[in-house]
């Protein structure tokens, strides 16, 4: 092979990989990044004088932030603050409960399940592939006035009369969020706990730690990355959730931010407000997203070295 040929072959190889990635990258630019910009452009657009709907302002020089002014005004004067606060409380409580439920399960499957490990993993993965709305529908059936939950509670003597679980109850919505998102928390926890070298824990025990000490001072700190990643993984979709509250409560008393966005977008003339709310939500979760991307990048760097 002569030298120019070889040089051409090397050059070919250098272009080969980016050109394979190109269609996917172009797709994501056109249908992911451009749409995100469109949200900003609509949020910053001036309202159409005739139809009242926002006209997108594609040029940043023509941006009109009045929609944000309205929203922040409502947050501070008290029309919207309750919805934002409620979303925060729901997400915080649901994430904490999910962690409380998910950690022992992930711990057991990763470290003690033995020959049941594959079976248990299969059962834990199963809810991923069951439609989220179907899982909520299942609770709508169970929690309805003549449903099994009321029947069991009345049989056990805890309730005297059936309770209306599905009308504006905070605890029902939080139950729905926990039920819906726990599996997504368990898998990153499982991966983190599974990676811990058994010998490290044995060393702690050999050096005199009780099993509780070994857990609190070795296992738990070593799984903290998984805890954080798992919490972020469930908090991101929870912040954008609007269907759980609609299905399990259907009352404005339990609306989350996502519901406001959905309502604005679906009402004529509201897309400017919907877009602005989306931008507020997005900047809110941007911190979580940045943290997650950073931890993924670090994990893949560690995997390569």
């Amino acid at each position: 092979v002569s030298a120019p040929d070889e040089r051409r072959a090397v050059g070919e190889r250098r272009w080969l990989w980016p050109s394979l990635a190109a269609p996917g990258v172009i797709w994501l630019v056109l249908l992911f990044l451009v749409p995100l910009y469109a949200v900003l452009a609509v949020a910053m657009g001036a309202p159409d004088p005739i139809f009242g709907d926002a006209l997108p302002a594609w040029n940043p020089l023509a941006w009109d932030p009045s929609e944000f002014g309205t929203i922040f005004g409502e947050i501070f004067t008290g029309q919207l603050d309750i919805v934002f606060l409620r979303t925060l409380v729901y997400v915080a409580v649901a994430t904490f409960l999910s962690l409380l439920i998910g950690y022992p399960v992930a711990y057991y499957v990763a470290r003690h399940a033995g020959r049941y490990r594959v079976l248990l993993l299969m059962l834990i993965i199963a809810p991923f592939w069951i439609n989220y709305l179907m899982r909520m529908l299942a609770w709508v059936n169970l929690l309805s006035t003549d449903g099994y939950v009321n029947q069991v509670l009345m049989f056990a003597g805890i309730l005297d009369a059936p309770r209306e679980w599905l009308v504006g109850k905070h605890e029902t919505v939080i139950l729905g969020l926990v039920y819906g998102y726990v599996p997504f928390l368990i898998l990153p926890l499982f991966a983190a706990l599974d990676r811990i070298d058994q010998r490290v824990i044995e060393a702690a025990r050999d050096l005199g730690a009780s099993s509780a000490q070994a857990f609190w001072r070795v296992t738990l700190p070593l799984s903290s990355q998984g805890i954080l990643a798992g919490c972020v993984i469930v908090m991101l979709p929870m912040f954008g959730d609007y269907y759980t509250a609609t299905l399990l409560s259907g009352s404005p008393k339990t609306n989350m931010v996502g519901k406001l966005i959905e309502q604005s977008i679906n009402t004529g003339g509201g897309s400017g407000r919907g877009a602005a709310l989306t931008v507020v939500l997005m900047s809110f979760v941007a911190i979580l997203m940045t943290y997650y991307l950073y931890s993924v990048a670090r994990a893949s760097r560690e995997a390569r070295t």
């Binding site: 990989w17 980016p18 992911f32 451009v34 949200v39 057991y108 439609n131 529908l137 979709p237 269907y243």
Partner: protein, 307 residues
């Protein structure tokens, strides 16, 4: 003295034994075993009950009145098969999932190969761009795609076309994640050896790399299908009118309107479809593991994907 000791032991026995059984540090972690199985029951039994009510003989979705297939196909008006709006949702879901799978898989496989092997300028940003749709709240993507189709890409009608474009956009990243593990484990030696031996770049990819990726490609097809058929938010925002409503959209709009068990039957069909797809993916990956003489299980690979 020893007799007195045993006597005392006899008296204490029931509670002491229970306590010893529960807290024996060398025994099995009983609390964790109980907790884990209780969690699994809690996570799956409600769904099983919902599936069961799809087979209810009566109209109730909360009181069992005997088994029938009435809500699947026997009822001439209200069953999934005969109610035009339910049947349309089923067809729309399957059609969307099939189209998404066929577009997203080639796109994602090429992107995964490119990203796994390319390390030059721009590869890091491309990687971040690929990860972004995975962590963006779906409602943000739904609103964004809705606004872009309304205001900028006016040639895309809301409805099936917009839904396919939207589904492909968030499914591509999942395909990349499924492919990536396999690409790292294959390494780049094989295709480089082929090119050194005179194969052109396309020959090397087509005849050396791709055959090694087939199991992962099958798994990607199935994952893409399952992710698309499960989606609610994107389908709902891009649906245009009721004719492009999918099964999850129907579940959402019907769940609170005193529906018949036909809605449970419809949801169960969705469940069977995605379970079938995922079982197939796990089987294919498991078979290829066995062929290569690797231990472990494909289920574990799946659990580590962090989908």
């Amino acid at each position: 003295l020893s007799a007195a000791g045993t006597e005392l032991g006899e008296k204490r026995r029931p509670t002491a034994r229970l306590k010893a059984w529960w807290s024996n540090p060398w025994g099995k972690p009983r609390f964790l075993i109980l907790f884990t199985w209780a969690y699994i029951l809690w996570s799956l039994v409600p769904v099983a009950i919902a599936v069961q009510f799809g087979f209810n003989a009566g109209r109730s979705r909360s009181t069992w009145q005997g088994f029938s297939l009435r809500w699947y196909f026997q009822d001439p008006n209200l069953s999934v098969l005969h109610d035009p709006s339910l049947r349309a949702a089923l067809v729309q879901s399957l059609q969307l999932a099939a189209l998404t799978m066929l577009v997203a898989t080639p796109l994602g496989v090429a992107l995964a190969i490119g990203l796994a092997r390319w390390s030059g300028w721009g590869s890091r940003s491309a990687n971040f761009l690929m990860l972004f749709p995975l962590i963006t709240p779906e409602i943000v993507m739904g609103v964004a795609l809705f606004l872009v189709f309304v205001h900028l890409f006016g040639f895309v009608q809301l409805g099936t076309m917009a839904q396919v474009l939207g589904h492909v956009t968030f499914t591509v990243s999942y395909v990349v994640i499924v492919m990536r593990g396999r690409l790292f484990s294959v390494g780049r030696e094989y295709e480089e050896a082929a090119m050194d031996l005179g194969a052109s770049r396309w020959q090397a990819i087509r005849t050396v790399l791709l055959p090694m990726l087939y199991p992962a490609i099958w798994a990607s097809l199935m994952v893409a299908f399952a992710i698309s058929i499960d989606d609610f938010v994107i389908s709902a925002f891009l649906m245009g009118d009721q004719s492009s409503a999918t099964i999850p959209v129907k579940l959402y709009s019907a769940a609170r309107l005193a529906p018949s068990p036909a809605i449970n039957a419809l949801a169960s069909i969705l469940l069977f479809a995605s379970m079938f797809a995922i079982a197939f993916a796990i089987l294919v990956m498991g078979r290829s593991r066995k062929k290569e003489g690797k231990g472990g299980s494909a289920v574990e690979d799946f659990a580590r994907l962090d989908l």
